[in-house]
Subunit: 157 residues, 2 copies
């Protein structure tokens, strides 16, 4: 489950959305297939993890992947036609919140009220997330100047 001690910064964050967006933007700059090996390195992980992460985007039709010589990953449509929301959904709608209820004890009115209060706020916060994600197309995240693709932590990239 989650923290018990401090508040600080949980290092237990799902970084897939951030990771995938990062890669997609780079793919939007280079218009040739890039291999899992290269792209995985750019996000500081390995090819198998990368493929696993991108499977949903491929299924959603945001990117295409090809085997063999000259194979690799490419955008299937321009960044202007991909919303942050659609990427989030393609990843399988990863859990947004780190808090929740231990269990739904429906017989306890107190528990019921508490759950409702928290759930109510979480529903609103989730709606906020989805609304804003839906407004953002990936081209708007592109820096003005082209950015070179390099290995994670090895300089600009």
């Amino acid at each position: 489950m989650r923290a018990q001690a401090g508040a600080e910064e949980d290092m237990n964050k799902d970084t897939r959305l951030s990771d995938v967006l990062h890669v997609l933007l780079h793919m939007g700059q280079l218009h040739e297939p890039l291999t899992s090996d290269v792209l995985a390195r750019s996000m500081g992980t390995n090819p198998a993890v990368f493929r696993r992460m991108m499977a949903g985007l491929r299924d959603a039709g945001h990117v295409t992947s090809g085997k063999g010589h000259g194979g690799g990953w490419q955008l299937a449509r321009p960044l202007s036609e991909i919303t942050l929301l659609s990427v989030y959904v393609a990843l399988g709608r990863p859990t947004l919140f780190a808090i929740g209820n231990r269990s739904d004890n429906p017989a306890c009115l107190v528990q019921k009220n508490v759950n409702a209060a928290l759930a109510d706020t979480m529903v609103q916060a989730e709606a906020l997330f989805l609304a804003r994600f839906g407004e953002v197309t990936l081209d708007t995240l592109m820096p003005d100047a082209p950015v070179p693709l390099t290995v994670h932590g090895g300089g600009p990239g």
Copy 2:
């Protein structure tokens, strides 16, 4: 870190806020000291975990704890003077979100833009949480009818 496969329901939620609220409401109904043993059982855990969880609330002055015979836990002020926000803060402001950035590579403009976009939404969502938490005093969560305190899962409680 977090999920990679499905989306479903992460069972890895921090339930402390929900747990603590549950207990505080029960304490608001019974006006006598209750032991860690009893209260822990009502949330389905054990006394040590309970004390660890309540330490912040005691330090914040929301509850008092006493040792020895007749000792235990009591509210230090009426529920109407305790906001959901103050409870959240007393717990150490547990992490709200399950998503984040893998790392802040400040040299990568793409990464920078992605992080900013996500962070912006998260800041707004957090503000929403805190605003709503701040509006809720615990007495408003109290069911109209008194609720008996029983063991977790053992019926109403």
